[in-house]
């Protein structure tokens, strides 16, 4: 099996539109959550959302290129270009069958809404532009990036709800480990718009603590009352260790293992066993003991049931003395399809910039989170061995173990 390393990272999120800015936000514990007056006017239970500021799709790609791309696909392209720039790979280095693309994404709602609106308004399909069919597919990120970057290897999207990004990075790493690809540009993307979030709002999953938007997402806190949606795009360049070494690439970190599982239980209520199983598998594949991990980048989204379940799973795997734990969703909100991949990018940013970001808004533990060593203030040292958890509706879980050596 080939060892798999990270040679590039990129991100567009509510914490910033490049890795340097996002790192500064993470270190400062800065929230990217806002109160969206449009959602309030439309009758949302919760108008809170992550908001991406300072990103202009027009500056990234031409009108013709953007025609087939929703905003989050353009953000994925920008993140991928940042990651590729960092990796030192030239455009011609990736235009081959040994370079693939795997992203996590589970909706492209706004394009579907707009095309139906056009059809109803004009009484036929003749007013629906040619870009809609490509914008409305969940695979829109990988199909567009494949065309733009001209990679010729793997090209597909993984849809597994809020663990999509985690599974995408995991499968990308496995393809390299197995020798099926030399490198894979992977990640996750999540649309930020009210159209895609209204049904999520309707099931009462969102926090209604909107007097202070920045304090609404409170993973693991006793008084948490729901998640806050966010999004954007995160991208990584993964390569085989030998491939990276041969071309003299700077190695940011290593993907040591990918564990996965599913609950086989309930659509929206996580089991106590599923995530635990994924974590144990990831540790076993990595050949590591729980004590080898020094930071858990938790999935915890600020929902009462989900956070309790993950806290119990962490306790079962790690016992009474857990590593540092923080959920960055306290700052970003829940980046949904993107989150499993953005956690890996955030972890790599923290390793590069030398800190572990806090779980902001954590004031008081509950009976489960009191057993966790939750990071309340920024820790001024880099993480060395990181576990990134992700879990999604339907009970699909991913766990990635990463190591970083300074």
């Amino acid at each position: 099996m080939n060892r798999v390393v990270i040679t590039g990272i990129g991100i567009v999120s509510c914490l910033g539109t490049d890795t340097q800015t996002v790192g500064e936000s993470l270190r400062l514990g800065r929230s990217g959550i806002i109160y969206d007056t449009k959602r309030a006017e439309l009758g949302f239970r919760s108008p809170l959302t992550g908001a991406i500021e300072g990103f202009s799709t027009e500056k990234v790609l031409s009108k013709k290129q953007r025609k087939t791309m929703p905003d989050f696909a353009v953000q994925a392209y920008a993140a991928a270009m940042e990651a590729l720039g960092m990796s030192g790979l030239a455009p011609e280095d990736i235009q081959n069958e040994e370079t693939g693309l795997i992203f996590g994404c589970d909706s492209s709602c706004i394009a579907a809404v707009e095309q139906v609106d056009l059809l109803r308004e004009h009484g036929g399909s003749h007013s629906i532009g040619s870009g809609f069919v490509f914008r409305s597919m969940t695979s829109t990120v990988t199909m567009n990036l494949n065309t733009l970057l001209k990679t010729r290897g793997a090209c597909w999207t993984i849809s597994s709800a809020c663990s999509s990004g985690g599974h995408a990075v995991g499968q990308a790493a496995d393809l390299i480990a197995l020798g099926r690809q030399e490198r894979v540009i992977c990640g996750g993307a999540q649309e930020v718009n009210w159209e895609s979030m209204c049904s999520f709002d309707a099931i009462g999953a969102f926090s209604t603590n909107f007097d202070n938007p920045g304090a609404a997402s409170r993973p693991f806190d006793k008084n948490r009352d729901g998640l806050v949606p966010g999004g954007g795009a995160a991208a990584l360049v993964l390569e085989g260790l030998e491939t990276a070494r041969k071309r003299g690439a700077a190695i940011l970190g290593e993907v040591r293992s990918y564990g996965f599982s599913s609950d086989g239980l309930h659509l929206s209520v996580p089991s106590l066993e599923g995530l635990r199983s994924a974590m144990e598998k990831a540790l076993k594949i990595a050949g590591m003991e729980p004590g080898d991990i020094d930071y858990i980048c938790a999935h915890a989204t600020s929902t009462p049931l989900g956070d309790a379940s993950e806290a119990q799973a962490i306790s079962k795997v790690f016992g009474p003395k857990t590593p540092y734990v923080s959920s960055l969703k306290s700052m970003t909100g829940h980046e949904l399809w993107m989150s499993g991949a953005s956690q890996v990018v955030y972890a790599a940013i923290m390793a590069r910039q030398g800190f572990i970001a806090p779980n902001i808004n954590f004031k008081e533990p509950d009976e489960h989170s009191e057993r966790l060593n939750i990071v309340k203030e920024t820790v001024e040292r880099p993480p060395r061995a990181v576990m990134c958890n992700a879990a999604g509706f339907g009970g699909t879980n991913s766990c990635l173990v990463l190591t970083f050596n300074k």
């Binding site: 031409s62 009108k63 013709k64 025609k67 003749h126 007013s127 532009g129 040619s130 870009g131």
Partner: protein, 84 residues
Amino acid sequence: MTDQEIIELIDNTLANEFELNIDDMIPGAVLKDDLGLDSLDRVDMVIVLEKAFNFKMSEEETIRAIRTLGDIHNFVIGKKHEMQ
């Protein structure tokens, strides 16, 4: 609307939609080879021209036969004359 005004509206509409240089909008320009417009762009070309001139371009055979910008000029001018 004069024929020249129709031609200018076509050229400006297509230049704006496809981010083309207006200097390249000459009647002999071949849509695919000179202006880079592929089969998907033709779908959008019809939509923006219908909107600009407020008529339906339902003659699919005629539209399919269009090769150059000059063909579009002639087609739209013909349509406008029919409507008058």
